[in-house]
Structures are given as structure tokens and as C-alpha cells.
């Protein structure tokens, strides 16, 4: 695993980190619930084929400024600014979890921004017959097992790298959790259902078959309402953080869809 190149762009007057690796056509990636505290294996796989650009959303590792974002228009504006500053306008875009939520919103509000879209288990909808889990009302010891089918690997992914201050690292992860809550509290329903028809970019909807946060049945709800070409894939033995649980299977599905 090599280290990505790092640069920073300004969004809302605050610095946001942009990681980049690989050659070829740009492929954007917006990270999930804890953002990208490290460069994940999935992006290594993708960078063998594409120039992967992974900007950090406000509040997620590498970026601050989320506490000025009060509502959905603020978040969509910040995401548009971030994609433009990172050189991702008109590119293919992958979003995971929180990142997928904002990728879907951007695709609905601004059709020209995204060429092809990959959504990995987005929030944004709520069906009371199969409710989205309240991931914040959890005990610290039960959360890894709720998020992932490979909790030990998740713990290693979130552990402070050598040389990092453990206390500051825990605050960095807590900040990411707060940023997600700022967007999604209390149910994750952002009214996306009313905008799905506006998403006309060809879309791959990916879902961990064992997602205990947003039920996998939401994949069909989303796919049936999208306005353009759509493909749905379930990833076996993967939870809500499917890109961490099964990086090879997710990479294969994404590259197959984009080729």
C-alpha cells in the first residue's frame, strides 16, 4: 500500500484535505461514516486503473468547518464547492454511507456535476416498516459489530497510526461522528425520496448484504425511483461499511460498472 499524494483546497473558507493516487481518468470518492482516517485498501485497488481523488468533506478527517453547515442546502453547497475545487466536475463519483448521501443529493440538485455515480449504502430515506438504525444510541462496544462484519479490521482501520497522539485521534474520530450527526440526526431522512427522480446519471447502487444500519432493502427503494440507468449489487459478508469489509468485491463491482 503506497501513500497518496496530499493537497488542500478551500471550502467555506476552511482547508479540506484532498488525497490522490493513480493515473488516468479522474474518479472521485467521498468517504463514509468516519471518513478517511487512513487510505483504504479499496482506493488502492481502484488506483491501479484510475486517478482516484478523495476529498474530505467538512468535519471528516482532514477537514473542519462543518459547524457552519446548518441545513441540507449548506451541505450540498459545500459538497459542490469541494468537488469543483478538487477537479471532479463531470467525473465519475463514488460515495459511501454519509458520502453517498451527499453524492446522491448533488446528483439530484446539479445533474451536470456527476458523470456516473456509485452509491454505497446511502442514508437519506426512512421507512418506518424497516427503520434505519439509530447508530448513535449505541454502546461503544456494540458499534463495531453493527457497522461491520469484520469488526477487528475496522478497529485496526480506526486505530491511531504510529506517532499520532491517541487523545487527539479519538477527538478526530468523534468530530467525524458529529459531522455525520449534524447532517443526519435524528433519523437520516433528508427527503431524498422526493429528489431521486432527478438523478439521471447512470448509477450503481451497492449494499452490504449484512448492513445493520440502513437495511439492504433500501437499495431497491432507491433504484426503483432513480431517473436514469441503474444497477443494484449486493456485497456478500459485508456490513454498512462494505468498502472496508470487502474491498476486492467492491472494487470489482465498481470497475465492472465503470468499464
Amino acid at each position: 500500500m503506497s501513500l497518496p499524494a496530499e493537497r488542500h483546497v478551500q471550502v467555506n473558507g476552511r482547508r479540506c484535505r484532498v488525497w490522490e493516487q493513480g493515473e488516468g481518468e479522474p474518479l472521485g470518492f467521498l468517504g463514509g461514516l468516519r471518513g478517511l482516517p487512513r487510505w483504504p485498501a479499496l482506493l488502492d485497488r481502484l488506483a491501479e486503473h484510475r486517478r482516484v481523488i478523495a476529498p474530505s468533506l467538512p468535519g471528516f478527517p482532514g477537514a473542519t468547518g462543518f459547524d457552519e453547515l446548518d441545513d441540507l442546502p449548506d451541505w450540498v453547497t459545500a459538497t459542490l464547492d469541494l468537488l469543483e475545487a478538487s477537479g471532479l466536475v463531470g467525473a465519475d463519483l463514488i460515495g459511501a454511507s454519509v458520502g453517498a448521501t451527499l453524492a446522491a443529493e448533488v446528483a439530484a440538485f446539479s445533474r451536470a456535476t456527476i458523470r456516473r455515480l456509485v452509491l454505497i449504502a446511502p442514508f437519506g430515506l426512512f421507512d418506518e416498516r424497516e427503520p434505519v438504525k439509530d447508530l448513535w444510541a449505541t454502546r461503544p462496544d456494540e458499534l463495531p459489530g453493527l457497522l461491520s462484519t469484520h469488526p477487528a479490521e475496522l478497529a485496526a482501520f480506526l486505530a491511531p497510526p504510529a506517532g499520532e497522539d491517541a487523545a487527539e485521534w479519538s477527538i478526530l474520530l468523534a468530530r467525524a461522528s458529529e459531522a455525520a450527526a449534524r447532517l443526519l440526526w435524528p433519523t437520516g431522512d433528508l427527503g431524498l425520496r422526493k429528489r431521486l427522480h432527478r438523478i439521471q446519471a447512470p448509477t450503481l447502487v451497492l449494499w452490504g448484504a449484512e448492513d445493520r444500519i440502513v437495511p439492504p432493502s433500501y437499495a431497491k427503494r432507491i433504484a426503483s425511483a432513480l431517473g436514469g440507468w441503474v444497477e443494484v449489487r449486493e456485497i456478500a459478508d459485508a456490513g454498512h461499511l462494505a468498502e472496508l469489509d470487502q474491498p476486492d468485491a467492491v472494487a470489482a463491482a465498481v470497475l465492472g460498472f465503470l468499464s
Binding site: R139, S177, A181, W185
Partner: protein, 420 residues
């Protein structure tokens, strides 16, 4: 000093196996445990107890706000305070208080508190808590990441609404109000005294100091555990150049008094164990919400958690492995509840007031499932034999600038007597 009588209004009939059979006293408390006929009796006894406390000489009576909570039956303390305003004469009515971010528009708080201030003849203390994560983020679904920003905006709006003589437009970040014009206006000028119940965050201390508000540390864990926090508060006041006027501070303490220490130990065991066992049985899922604590507070907590762990590994902390005490002996040893004869209690409370430098002592003389009769006994004995030993403390040296003004007796309205 001021001695205040504080009621939490706990539901007193939680079953003995509550901890085993139910996950939490708060947020998802089982509604099948609630009997409204029982609550009818409880509410009336509780309000009698507050009125009784005012009659026997406590300087103030206190109510507070909790939601979906079996140890706090006051989702709306203002309803209780309004009734107390009619049925008491001189005591301060301390609403401790309204969780500002829960009200939309927040001018509702300005209106209701102005009503209470008018009805009571200027006896209101306006308490403005942020509210716990359980109350605000879970029971009321407020966004924890916005809670403090909303709280501060609501505070600014309410304070202006009480003081600006003209209608104004509020174009805030979270609230847009074309016409703000609170009617009625509070009787106390420029506004009722403001007290801030808080935990131990440095930001809250600064905020109180800047605005000249009372900081009130409402812990259930007594004077021994509260010492470090109050020390931190006074160190910070000194650093900010504020005088050490004890009336800048309030502190909560559970007390059980009887003729002898032995008798007190026998009388207050059950209600104390009921409170610390059943009432504080809280699902850890609801204790934290992301963003509820600032990053500065998180940093301080990480540091103190490291210190706690070190202390515990050295064999300290009487509360047992990482938890609070629930057995009566430990509850008393740890100082959660002060029990004893009137003289013993007076001596301990004097020590508390002096060591913690607290001028507003809020006393919980009803706690857990303590029945009406025992509550009356505790209250009366305290008023007769403890309160007179303490009431003079601090007054030769310090002025309480945070106490309600009240109308002169000649101007005070006389509500008609209730006839059966």
C-alpha cells in the same frame, strides 16, 4: 446564605426488579409502569411539599425539567411554578429551568417566565440549562451538533425580548421572527436573575462570568465529588478577575435529618437506595450524543479519564469498579447523601458551603421513593434545627446580587383562600 428546597418529583413506584427487567429509567422508560391515578396523588403531595417548604422558612423552592424520565415528572416545570406562585408568599421560585433549545420559538420561554414573574410578584429565578443528552437529543430529537448554538441564540433572543422596550425583528441563524414583542413583561428589572445549571465545562464558567450569572452545579454525587469541580470554577473566576462572592454559585445536596444519626440511617436507607439504584438506572446508549460536548471538554475528559483510571488502579474511588455507589453505606461514605442529627447535618453543610464557597445551597429533602410523611418530617426538622444554624453564613461579607427582588408586602396581591 440561601437554603433552597428542590424537588425532582420522582415516580415512587418503580418495581423492585426494575434494574433487571428494564433497560432504562429515561428515554425508553416503559409507560406501562406509569399509573396516572398514582401520579394524581404524587403531584399533589409533591406540590404540597414545595408549599410546605416555603411556609416553614426555606428561602426558595426549586423545580426543573426532564423528559421521558421516571425520576423527574416535570416535562413542564413552568406549570408547577405557576401554581406555586399562587400558593406561596415570600419564597423565591427557582425554575431550574427551561432547556432553551427545545422551544420554538424560544420567545415562548420569555412569555411563560414573564407570566410567572408577574403572578408571583417578582419572585422568579430564571434557570437556563442546556439540558442533558437524554432530554434534548434523544427524548426531544434535537441535533446534538447544533444544540449549543441554538441554546445561545435562544438565550440572546430571550434576554433581548425581556429588555428591549420596542417590538423588534429577530433574523437569527436558526430563528427568523418578524415581530418579537413579549407581553406580559417580567416584573423584575432589567430581568429576573439568571442561574445556569451546568456540568464542569470551562466554557460554561466563562459564559456565566461574562454575563454575571449564577453557576449552579447540580450533581447527584454530593459535596465530596463536587469539590474538584467547584475548585475549578473558583480558580477560573480568580483568573478572570471576579470576586469570590459565594452567591455566584449554587450546589445541590441530598440530605436526610432525624433526631439521631442512628435514626437517620434507618429512615433514609430505602429512599436513597431507590434513587441511586432504580432512578439512576440509565441505558449507556443515551448518555452520549456526538457533538453534545465541545472538543475542549472532550480533551479535558480524556485527560481526567486517564487520571481516574490511574487513581482506580491505585485502589481509590469508593464507588466500585468504574461505577457509582448504589449501596447505602457507600452512598453515605461518598457523601452523595448527608445524613445525621440536626447538629451533624448543620456542621457538614457548613463545611460544604465554606469549602466549596457556595451561597445558594439547593437541598433535596425528598428523594427516591421517600413518602410524604417522611418528607414533611425531614423538611420540618431541617427548617427548625438546621436552617437557623446556617442562614447567617456569608451575609456579613457578601451581598446576594442574584436573588429575586420581590414586591414589598403592601403591593403584593392576596389570592383568595381555597374553599373545600
Amino acid at each position: 446564605m440561601k437554603l433552597l428546597w428542590f424537588h425532582l418529583m420522582p415516580y415512587t413506584d418503580l418495581p423492585e426488579d426494575f434494574k433487571q427487567k428494564h433497560p432504562s429509567v429515561w428515554v425508553d422508560i416503559d409507560s406501562r409502569l406509569f399509573d396516572p391515578r398514582k401520579a394524581h396523588v404524587l403531584y399533589n403531595e409533591f406540590m404540597d411539599e414545595l408549599e410546605h417548604a416555603a411556609e416553614v422558612g426555606f428561602h426558595g423552592i426549586c423545580v426543573n425539567e426532564h423528559h421521558s424520565n421516571a425520576y423527574g415528572l416535570m416535562p413542564s416545570p413552568n406549570l408547577i411554578a405557576a401554581s406555586l406562585a399562587r400558593r406561596t408568599r415570600d419564597a423565591a421560585i427557582v425554575v431550574m429551568g427551561n432547556s432553551l433549545a427545545l422551544y420554538n420559538p424560544p420567545t415562548r420561554v420569555a412569555e411563560e417566565m414573564a407570566m410567572i414573574d408577574c403572578i408571583s410578584g417578582g419572585r422568579l429565578v430564571a434557570g437556563f440549562p442546556v439540558g442533558t443528552p437524554m432530554d434534548t437529543c434523544f427524548a426531544y430529537s434535537q441535533n446534538p451538533s447544533q444544540l449549543r448554538q441554538r441554546y445561545h441564540e435562544a438565550h440572546d433572543l430571550i434576554m433581548r425580548a425581556w429588555q428591549d422596550p420596542d417590538p423588534f425583528t429577530w433574523n437569527g441563524r436558526f430563528h427568523k421572527l418578524r415581530y418579537v414583542n413579549v407581553w406580559p413583561r417580567p416584573l423584575q428589572k432589567p430581568h429576573p436573575p439568571v442561574w445556569i445549571p451546568g456540568g464542569g465545562s470551562v466554557e460554561t464558567w466563562h459564559w456565566c462570568a461574562e454575563r454575571d450569572y449564577v453557576y449552579s452545579y447540580l450533581s447527584y454525587f454530593g459535596y465530596k465529588n463536587g469539590e474538584a469541580t467547584m475548585q475549578g470554577f473558583w480558580d477560573e473566576m480568580k483568573r478572570l478577575g471576579k470576586d469570590p462572592n459565594p452567591y455566584r454559585a449554587g450546589f445541590l445536596q441530598f440530605v436526610g435529618v432525624a433526631e439521631t444519626r442512628e435514626e437517620a440511617l434507618a429512615l433514609y436507607r430505602e429512599p436513597a437506595e431507590y434513587f441511586y439504584g432504580r432512578c439512576l438506572h440509565l441505558d449507556p446508549r443515551y448518555v452520549l450524543a456526538p457533538g453534545y460536548s465541545s472538543e475542549a471538554t472532550q480533551r479535558a475528559r480524556v485527560r481526567s479519564a486517564v487520571a481516574d483510571a490511574a487513581a482506580r488502579s491505585r485502589g481509590g474511588a469508593g464507588g466500585g469498579a468504574g461505577g457509582q455507589a448504589t449501596g447505602f453505606e457507600a452512598i453515605v461514605d461518598e457523601g452523595y447523601v448527608i445524613v445525621g442529627s440536626p447538629d451533624e447535618v448543620a456542621e457538614k453543610l457548613r463545611e460544604l458551603a465554606v469549602n466549596l464557597n457556595v451561597g445558594h445551597l439547593m437541598l433535596l429533602l425528598q428523594f427516591g421513593n421517600m413518602n410524604h410523611q417522611l418528607t414533611q418530617y425531614n423538611t420540618e426538622l431541617f427548617a427548625k434545627r438546621v436552617l437557623p444554624q446556617l442562614a447567617d453564613l456569608f451575609d456579613d461579607e457578601w451581598e446576594d446580587r442574584w436573588w429575586p427582588q420581590g414586591l414589598p408586602a403592601a403591593e403584593a396581591a392576596r389570592p383568595r383562600e381555597v374553599r373545600a
